[in-house]
Every structure is written in structure tokens, then in C-alpha cells.
């Protein structure tokens, strides 16, 4: 397929999802107790009737539903997600400031989950039925059943309160004012617990998946051929088995991106990580629905974009699949 067609198709997908979320957002706002003007004015404190009327006129709430909807979409088309009264700045700007922290957390978690999950799964597959396999499989089963927020708190108790190795929360030591390498090291220290917390669940998933596919792939003819022609075990593992066993894992990763963002909300809340999830939690409590729904829209877009990256990685791993 031509590159231009691909780009057009992807953009269409992006637009249709954005439109879908917009429709849902609009009707959710209709469901909220009181109209949107009350919701929006809620944060402004004691709103005068004149102010409410002005708000209603500004958002066109005095007009028919369809007209309102059209205006809402027009606003979005101009990247206007509305205004957060609590934070005193446009929603789009607020979200833009928080996205990098969430991407950093997600990236670190995915890296941890993939590396640890693939390694543990591979060990379990090579030792299928023995002690190492039993221990790894049991651990995977337990982590698969553990709520993220709880494991985060337990890690805090052990590593921050009892052992005092790692910070309890936040993204950097504010009072230290580090710069350069010291700052990066500081952020990394703050990143360890949240990233591990968010990653453990997915690590469990990948361990189970990796073990299953590795057992399957090792039985394949091409592996037997590789062994028969005298390839050394490390080469058989890395060039033949691992590369093929990683494919289902990458597919799974693409499916899970949206669930990882959901997990990030919990993890960021536990560790006061200043990302989108933490912002969603704050919006929740300030009843700042415009902000909350803006986050829903933006995180959906993040999911789509990350999936593009996953698709690209997939084509690198498996040359039979064309970028489409």
C-alpha cells in the first residue's frame, strides 16, 4: 500500500475516534446534575445569575441540543477543550503540561514489563515443569490478581517506610533544585517504584504469554533445523526462538496500551506522580468535568499514537508483515 494511503487511513481513524469520544463526552455532560454552565461555574465560587447567563450564552446552552453539539465540535476542531476554572488555564494547556510525565511513566513501565516478563517467561519455558517454572508461574498468577494501587502502597511500606531506600512519591526533590545529571538521577529514583508498580501486572501477563509461546515455538521445525545444523544454544535462543516468541507479546502490548493508561491513573494517584492520571484524579474531586473529559479524549489519542509505534515495531520484528 502506498504511504499516502496509509497516512490518510490512520488520520481517518484518529478523527473517527476523536469524534466518538466527543459524542460520549457531550452526552455525559448532559447527564451531569445541573447543566454544563453550573458545572463550569461550580469552580468559580458564588456565580451571579448574570455570570451564569453569560456562560450559557457563551456555550450556547440556551440553544437546541443539536446546535449545542455542533458548537462543541467546532470548539474541538480549534483544539479548544474549554477552560479549567480551578487551575485558571485552558484545559488543552494543562493536559499538554502533564503528558510528558505520563509518557515517561508508561515508557518505563512497559520497558520493565517487557524485559522482566520476557526473561521470566523464557526461563520458565526452558525449565518447564521444574522448580524455577513453578515459582515463576505462581508469582505471575499472584501479580496478575493484585490490584495496582494496593501493590503500590505495599511497595511504599517496604521500600520507603521500612527500608527508606526510595522516595514515597512525587517526581523530583523540589527543595534540592538539582540540575543536569543530578536531576535525571533524582527523577530516576522517583520513577522506580511507580514504574515497577504499574509494570508488575503487565509483567505477569507477558510472563504467562511468553512461557506459552516459547514452549510452542521451541517445538517448531525451524528450531530443530537450527539445532541440527549446529547453531549454538544462545544463537538458537536469540535469533530463532526469541524473535518469534516476541511477536504475540508485541501484539498484546498494542492491545493493552489503553489499559496501561487506566492503570497510570491509579499509580499516579498513589505516588503523586504529576501526570495525566493525577490530573484526572484532581479533576474528579474538583468536579471539573470539562477537564476530566478532555483527559479522556487526549488519552485516547495517546493510545492511537502508541499503537502506530507498536505496529511499526511489529514490522521490524516480522518482515512478512507490511506496514499497513
Amino acid at each position: 500500500m502506498k504511504i499516502r494511503n496509509i497516512v490518510v487511513r490512520r488520520l481517518l481513524q484518529l478523527v473517527s475516534v476523536a469524534l466518538g469520544v466527543t459524542i460520549i463526552n457531550f452526552f455525559l455532560l448532559q447527564l451531569a446534575p445541573g447543566d454544563a454552565a453550573q458545572v463550569l461555574a461550580g469552580e468559580a465560587g458564588a456565580a451571579t445569575p448574570e455570570y451564569m447567563a453569560a456562560l450559557r450564552a457563551q456555550f450556547g446552552l440556551d440553544q437546541p441540543l443539536l446546535v449545542q453539539f455542533w458548537k462543541y465540535i467546532l470548539n474541538l476542531a480549534h483544539f479548544n477543550l474549554g477552560y479549567s476554572f480551578r487551575h485558571g488555564m485552558p484545559v488543552a494547556q494543562l493536559i499538554g503540561e502533564r503528558v510528558p510525565a505520563t509518557l515517561l511513566l508508561m515508557g518505563a513501565s512497559i520497558l520493565f514489563a517487557v524485559v522482566a516478563g520476557a526473561t521470566l517467561g523464557a526461563i520458565a519455558a526452558y525449565r518447564a515443569g521444574r522448580i524455577a517454572d513453578v515459582v515463576i508461574s505462581t508469582l505471575a498468577l499472584v501479580f496478575f490478581a493484585t490490584p495496582l494501587f494496593w501493590i503500590g502502597l505495599m511497595l511504599v511500606v517496604v521500600f520507603s517506610v521500612w527500608l527508606d531506600w526510595l522516595p514515597v512519591g512525587g517526581m523530583f526533590t523540589i527543595e534540592a533544585g538539582y540540575t543536569g545529571w543530578k536531576y535525571i538521577l533524582d527523577v530516576a529514583r522517583h520513577l522506580v517504584l511507580p514504574a515497577v508498580t504499574l509494570g508488575l501486572f503487565y509483567m505477569a501477563v507477558y510472563t504467562r504469554l511468553m512461557r506459552a509461546t516459547m514452549v510452542e515455538v521451541r517445538r517448531q521445525d525451524f528450531v530443530r533445523t537450527a539445532v541440527a545444523k549446529g547453531a549454538r544454544p544462545p544463537r538458537v535462543l536469540f535469533a530463532h526462538v526469541l524473535r518469534n516468541a516476541l511477536l504475540p507479546l508485541v501484539t498484546m502490548l498494542g492491545v493493552q496500551v489503553s489499559s496501561i493508561i487506566g492503570g497510570a491513573v491509579l499509580v499516579e494517584t498513589v505516588f503523586s506522580w504529576p501526570g495525566l492520571g493525577r490530573l484526572a484524579f484532581e479533576a474528579l474531586f474538583q468536579r471539573d468535568f470539562n477537564l476530566l473529559l478532555g483527559i479522556l479524549l487526549c488519552s485516547s489519542i495517546v493510545v492511537i499514537v502508541v499503537n502506530w509505534v507498536v505496529d511499526f515495531v511489529y514490522t521490524r520484528l516480522d518482515p512478512r508483515i507490511r506496514f499497513a
Binding site: 473517527s16 475516534v17 466518538g20 469520544v21 460520549i24 455525559l28 455532560l29 447527564l31 451531569a32 446534575p33 498468577l141 499472584v142 496478575f144 490478581a145 493484585t146 490490584p147 495496582l148 494501587f149 494496593w150 502502597l153 505495599m154 511504599v156 511500606v157 517506610v161 501486572f201 501477563v205 504467562r208 504469554l209 506459552a212 504475540p248 498484546m252 492491545v255 493493552q256 489503553s258 489499559s259 493508561i261 487506566g262 492503570g263 491513573v265 491509579l266 494517584t269 498513589v270 484526572a280 484524579f281 474528579l284 474531586f285 468536579r287 468535568f289 476530566l292 473529559l293 483527559i295 479522556l296 488519552s299 485516547s300 493510545v303 492511537i304 499503537n307
Partner: protein, 303 residues
């Protein structure tokens, strides 16, 4: 979380090669006996039975409101025989909270899963059987649901319409059904042109009869396996919502107990730890049961 758990459930089952029509339906006694021999199903079943018993016996064993102050605050576990697991910072009995929490968690999980089952199975059946426009619409809708973060979506719904047991169950059910619909659709597509369905059609069976009497019974295995995982996911989602403060304020919830214990975690970590263990055990039980069911009902393993 929901998409991923269901995909996990789906992968092993949808790769079954033999057409389901060729598989002799196992007798009830047959698969039940095999279920008892599967260690994971057995352990999962026993654990789940315990949780269900806890839920059912909670009004008898702990007749009072679990949200009432009944003991002195910060009573550590094992100190007072009347309050075995101790009390939290407001003097609420933790054991009573765990028992009543089981009720709430299971109730929300079962109701939301039933909702997802009704929506997912009927959507999948219609789309798979009729194809065309119905199929195209369903596929777009499920793709959409796989893209938006379902936890965040459930959170937005509950936040906007106010948390009650009903709205929480609705929000979880509404965000959980699309992956099941895809699963059912894939199964229906395998059977749609099978000889069994053709025979029924030739005998003059109505579409409804073919869907409900011929196709649906043959798709029950994957549905059953993913149902147990959906209940597990629903419990995780419910506790996560409650942890964030989006639980029904009038009902005790494990997630809410974890969340409230958070403030005193430095000194009294048991308040946070104990309800979390209850969640882990319940979810683990359902996952084990799902694994066991998949093993037992998957015809590939019968060889």
C-alpha cells in the same frame, strides 16, 4: 484492565482448530469430574466458595452496620478476640468490613458481568449471524472501545452520574461488553456456514431459533471462560474506583478500605494490607477457575 484480561481469556480458546460442531458435547458429569481433577479449578473453586460464603453469611455473623464505630481506633489484629483483624482509624471492625465488602464486590461484579454478557452475546450473535451493516457497526464500536481507556471511561461515567451500587455496576458493564462481543462474533462466524446450521435452516428453523438453539450452545465454552475473567476484572475495577473515592458512600468496599487506610500507612499498615489481601484472594480464585475451565473445556487438551 478489562480488555486485556478478556484478550488473555480469548487467545487460547479462539485458536481451537476443530470446528465446534464436530466436538461431542461432554456430558455434565464428564466435564464436572474433569473439573474436579484440575488443580487450578479446584483451588479456585474452593477459594471462591469461601468468598461467596463470607458474602452470604455477613448479615448473620456481623449484623451491625460495618461502617459503625464499634471498637477503639487503631486496634491491631490479634489483640482483641472480639475484633480479630483489629479496627481502623475510625474504630470500624475490619473483619466485619471484609465480610460485608465481599457482598458488595461480588454483587457489583456479578451484575456488571450479567449486563456485559447480555450486551456482548446479543451483539456478537447479531453481528456474526447477519454480517453486513450490523457487523460493520459492531466492529467500529468495539474498535472504539478498545481505543479509549475503559477504566478512565468508567471513572468518568461514575463521576458524572454519582456513585451508587447501580451506577458503578452499569459503568463497569458498559465498558466491558465489547471484547466479549468480538469473541462471540468470531465463534459465530466459524459456525455460521456449518452443516449443522444449514440443516436447521433447511428444516425451516427461524433465524432466532438457529442463533439460540444451534449456535449459542456451541459458543458457551469460550463465553464461560471469559465470564469468570470478566468477574475478576470487574472486582478489580470496582475496587480501583472505590480506592479513588468513587465507591457507593453507603456501602463498605474493599477498595475504599485500602484507600482510607492509606493516610496512616506509615504507622498502621495493616489497615491497608488486610482488605488488599481479600481482593487478591478473590481475583486469584476467579482467575484460577477460569484457567481450570479453559483447560477442562478446551478439546485440544483431551488428547
Amino acid at each position: 484492565m478489562s480488555e486485556l484480561v478478556s484478550t488473555l481469556a480469548i487467545t487460547p480458546v479462539t485458536t481451537v482448530d476443530a470446528p465446534a460442531s464436530l466436538i461431542a458435547a461432554p456430558t455434565t458429569r464428564g466435564w464436572f469430574a474433569r473439573l474436579l481433577r484440575s488443580p487450578s479449578a479446584l483451588i479456585g473453586g474452593v477459594l471462591l466458595l469461601l468468598v461467596v460464603l463470607m458474602a452470604l453469611s455477613s448479615p448473620l455473623l456481623f449484623p451491625g452496620d460495618p461502617l459503625d464505630m464499634v471498637a477503639e481506633p487503631f486496634l491491631h489484629p490479634g489483640v482483641d478476640a472480639a475484633h480479630l483483624l483489629g479496627s481502623d482509624m475510625l474504630g470500624r471492625d475490619l473483619l466485619s468490613g471484609i465480610f460485608h465488602g465481599a457482598r458488595v464486590s461480588l454483587l457489583i461484579a456479578v451484575v456488571s458481568t450479567l449486563l456485559a454478557l447480555v450486551l456482548g452475546v446479543s451483539g456478537g450473535l447479531l453481528a456474526g449471524y447477519y454480517g453486513g451493516l450490523a457487523d460493520a457497526v459492531l466492529m467500529r464500536v468495539t474498535e472504539f472501545f478498545q481505543t479509549i481507556p475503559s477504566f478512565l471511561f468508567a471513572l468518568a461515567i461514575v463521576a458524572v452520574v454519582q456513585p451508587t451500587l447501580v451506577t458503578i455496576a452499569l459503568a463497569i458493564g458498559v465498558t466491558a461488553w465489547p471484547s466479549l462481543a468480538r469473541l462471540v462474533r468470531a465463534e459465530v462466524l466459524k459456525l455460521r456456514h456449518s452443516e449443522m446450521v444449514q440443516a436447521s435452516a433447511a428444516l425451516g428453523a427461524t433465524d432466532l431459533r438457529i442463533m439460540l438453539r444451534d449456535i449459542l450452545p456451541n459458543t458457551l465454552t469460550p463465553i464461560l471462560v471469559s465470564t469468570s475473567l470478566m468477574v475478576a476484572t470487574a472486582i478489580l475495577t470496582e475496587s480501583s474506583l472505590a480506592f479513588l473515592g468513587l465507591g457507593d458512600p453507603n456501602a463498605v468496599s474493599w477498595g475504599n478500605m485500602v484507600g482510607s487506610g492509606r493516610e496512616v500507612i506509615r504507622t498502621d499498615w495493616y489497615i491497608t494490607t488486610i482488605p488488599g489481601i481479600a481482593i487478591v484472594i478473590t481475583v486469584l480464585a476467579l482467575n484460577l477457575l477460569g484457567d481450570g475451565l479453559a483447560d477442562v473445556l478446551d478439546p485440544r487438551d483431551r488428547k
